[in-house]
Subunit: 698 residues, 2 copies
Amino acid sequence: MRSLGIFALQGGEVQRMKTLQVVMTVLILFFLASFATAQSQPQLNLMPMPASVQPGTGQLSINQSFSVTNTGFHDASLDREVQRFVTQLSRQTGIPFRSKPGSTPTLEIHADRGREAVQKLGEDESYQLTVADSGAKLTAPTSLGILRGLQTFLQLVQITPAGFAVPAVTIKDQPRFPWRGMLIDVSRHFIPIDVLKRNIDGMAAVKMNVLHWHLSDDQGFRAESKKFPKLTGMGSDNMFYTQAEIHEFIAYAHDRGIRVMPEFDIPGHSRSWFLGYPELSSGAGPYTLEGGGIDPIMDPTRESTYKFLEKFIAEMAKLFPDPYFHIGGDEVDGKQWDANPKIQEFIKSRGMKNNQDLQAYFNQRLEKIVAKNHKTMVGWDEILHPDLPKTIVVQSWRGQASLAAAAKQGYRGLLSYGYYLDLMWPAARHYAVDPMADAAATLTPEQKNLILGGESCQWAEWVTPENIDSHIWPRNAVIAERLWSPQEVKDVASMYRRMNAVSYDLEWLGLTHNSARIEILQRMAGSTGVDALRVLADVVEPVKDYNRWDDAKDPIDFHAPLTRMIDAVSPESDTAREFGDLVQTFAQSGYKDQAAEAQIRGYLTTWRDNDARLHPLLEESSLLQEDVPLSQSLSALGAAGLQVLDYLDKGQTAPDSWKTQEMAVIDQAKTRQADMLLMVVAPVQRLVEASAGQSQHN
Amino acid sequence: MRSLGIFALQGGEVQRMKTLQVVMTVLILFFLASFATAQSQPQLNLMPMPASVQPGTGQLSINQSFSVTNTGFHDASLDREVQRFVTQLSRQTGIPFRSKPGSTPTLEIHADRGREAVQKLGEDESYQLTVADSGAKLTAPTSLGILRGLQTFLQLVQITPAGFAVPAVTIKDQPRFPWRGMLIDVSRHFIPIDVLKRNIDGMAAVKMNVLHWHLSDDQGFRAESKKFPKLTGMGSDNMFYTQAEIHEFIAYAHDRGIRVMPEFDIPGHSRSWFLGYPELSSGAGPYTLEGGGIDPIMDPTRESTYKFLEKFIAEMAKLFPDPYFHIGGDEVDGKQWDANPKIQEFIKSRGMKNNQDLQAYFNQRLEKIVAKNHKTMVGWDEILHPDLPKTIVVQSWRGQASLAAAAKQGYRGLLSYGYYLDLMWPAARHYAVDPMADAAATLTPEQKNLILGGESCQWAEWVTPENIDSHIWPRNAVIAERLWSPQEVKDVASMYRRMNAVSYDLEWLGLTHNSARIEILQRMAGSTGVDALRVLADVVEPVKDYNRWDDAKDPIDFHAPLTRMIDAVSPESDTAREFGDLVQTFAQSGYKDQAAEAQIRGYLTTWRDNDARLHPLLEESSLLQEDVPLSQSLSALGAAGLQVLDYLDKGQTAPDSWKTQEMAVIDQAKTRQADMLLMVVAPVQRLVEASAGQSQHN
């Protein structure tokens, strides 16, 4: 609906938009009704949840005779997609398909028409999927909708007592927002094309449709320019994408229904430009990628800067067919401008008040260059300035208020605040962030239509090709759901259940978010098993927000190994969440639920005994020595928790002295260790407090 | 030494050979002395164990400044190898190397000369590696020796309390046998090139040097022939290697010091040829890849057969540069010959006695064609016939007796008996098989020199690209050791310790023998965790030898999914071996070793409780239902074992009635279930017998 709404606005057909809003409301009500019905049916592991799901009766068997027929539009791109779909289904089920000639196909697909050669913002992605025990049918106005529907079909496949099957269901689906993206920073750590490709596959699986490619920053310039070869020649440590690779990658993404928008971040975050072209900077140079000193900024006062950008942007505008072009524009601290008398003179002579006005001047000139190349300029919050035309798009890392402010001035916007994957937040926290919430909720319908969607952001200070997948997945799937599914889809328990299921699916695509964790632990452990190490790694999380930076030396060495436990562990501990839920259940039962208690006891026993198993290994490995206190804390928590269960079982209250002693253990366990947090402290504390007669039942 | 010996024999320099044998003896004594010394040093995880290892003092740190310099011969192939070595070391350690210009290199390599363009049998693979805390030096007569030495260096790297390091050591090394191969059958199940490539990497890591590529068999013809396109066009289900792929693959293997010898198995095992060319067969046809009925055989009585083979072998001889060409020749059951009156008439008219004589006639003619193309013919045991020239090589699947018989007649031979990976034997059983043992031990030195080495065999009836690695690795590494290391290296405990270490190393190369197991279990489990499933899978093994075939329908459907638990589990259970060792330790202590008892109790408790955790999942998945009795048996064993520990702890003898009852449980647990065996039955039985006062303290 949202995508159609945007078309309406751009075309000025307000009446059509209003009609659609009514239709949308009806659909949402329909969705809520069908969702309620679905609760009593076998749960479907769909993420993002479709707009409408109507369960049926029976199931469609997936066996060796599975086949697909296309009765509608087809082209080479759709044919490839169907082939990939069949390969993926075969991989997921382990079944080599061999349908007999002449047999009835299992799945019929039918698109009315093809796709745009360059995928458009708001291009129709809707589809309808009907599955009965006799067969399935997937229809869509465009082949892009077929792509989305095939991913839904893959998620519906499950193992049953009677083999692999898809439950009977009718799904009508379309996205809530037309712009559902992920930013990947490839500057701070270079991420090779094959790693990007498997992440494109993951994005397609959860129906995201924009890769925002953060191609340059202080630490590296990653896209080949033939006009300015020193950009990568001196600014990339020889780690960059050739134009041929970029071209092929964009085609790869297009095949999967994903736009690729480049970002070249200027005038700040641009040190890597100045190794080859120091004359672009506002300071004297020379510059190194390692950095240090004040952050260099591009010089907006020289005409030569614009001549350079004219040529550069013309070249990149051809290389990247997407109509949107991101120029960054964030975090210009202005110190190099302050330190340059010529620049300060320029500001005064033009009647500008400050550096912000200078950046606005720069952005205005930049926007003209971008527009001349038939592109729409996109930038971060800071570019918002009344002198810029209403065609630009503002990406907000500051929040819905910033987005709403832009919309009120008539600017289109994207939300990234709340979707920063590098902050190590739990999935539920990202899931709770809605582009239309808070300040945005008070916008007029017309203003709301200016909010195009959002983007998750994978900044790459602390990731390598080895562990980037585990920083993105599976949490990125819940952001994808927030941007695709109706706003009303927000049950957290359902989200976690479905996220865990989709996480397994994503491994079948080749993503390594689960497998690489074991690999990294294995490296730390050397030639021994990692079972005991996993017990510890499974209950810790990295410190949150930018707290990891506290211990890091400035400037950060982006070439240092990322091989510590913090680099291996998941941003969110499934085990800790499950344990917390168990303690919650146990507490709600008045500490009487024996099944919950048995499971809690199992965890606590494993933890209590783990340090004895693990300690020798921790001492033997330079990469693990820092984790000794963490392991000791976990075992202490296990012992404390077991003591509580004994008190509870005997109906005793723990002595105050014991409690005081254990609270000291808990306080110790709460402290950050080796840049990580033990995530089972809070539920153990709850048990300890309960043993002392202070429990709250719920 | 062996390789030099062969050169000597071929050159007729008998005196030189004798001198070398003396040197060999001295080296072996030296090795044994140094090996004894090494026992008190930190154990090195080398496999194959080098001929001589002399430990030093201190260690060489591997850090960001690591670099390699080559002071000797170099060419593009060696440069690529060094680059791969550095990449692999970086991957294993997680360290991005950034040595400063002008700093001292960590590792110096020096080869006196290059390699042959087509790798020769017996080409010098020796090397010497010296590691001190100040640096390492690797020298070799040829760049092929450098390849071998770099793999040793990689295996020496370990994590220590002071970071990654290589212990100081002096290694002098060369292979015992010049032919150390692995056969991979790609006919029964097609194995894509990328899967073969990662197995080539694995072979290189354990210093194997021949890939025996079993390219055709009844179920599929896998190598493109441009002269006879219907071979793959009708005989491959469209799963085959193009000539371009083959060419590139051979170069890939050559870069890693591995010869590629093709096998086209005739006149039996050749049904796939006859779909496109039924006139080659001894029956009427038509034929299908699925088979059924009697096994078709090539017709050796028609001249047109030889005309076909002339053209075909000429084409393949060009495609495969290796001087050895394997023609199969095994298991010709002769039924189709018996059923063909013209063929029987041919036998009589030529004065032949039987089908064996007919095959010998065929082989003689075949050998001439092979020789005309400047290749040496290799075949299985059955080709051995006095009419064939002494240049051929006989590969024995029947045993050392067969090999010795050939050697006595002056034929060179290879041992594969005892190295069949598809028989699901434990590593120790393969490890115990020596080409020079049994009948071969009685050969004269000259005859012994005719035994070139051996090959492991990975027949592909029960593997897919997904699980082939876990059927090959890590067991193949111990066969590689048997063929490389001195005969005296045979301590089984040391072998298992080193095999487990090298198994982790192999995963860094991209082999999936560990990771794919989890993947397959995950498929069976659907969207839930696999922890409880792993507990079961970790203590079972596939049935041994060809017992899996008992339950298989004839003809076997080679397109059926291989997605059962038997397809996921390891051929050898590490857990069962460890548990058996623990029970052994416990028994030897007179059932007093408390540490062993605690570990035994831990295992037994997990097993006892596992069926309750696992049962719901088993019922929900069609792929797991057959495993219900197995899971119940494991829990029953766990309960029985725990009861024994209780009796022992109390100093009680178990009642006879209890023992009778538990022996019934044990008998049940011993039966084959879902084509698998529970491998912890024997140690639990030992406990039960001990509880009844029947223990043997040995």
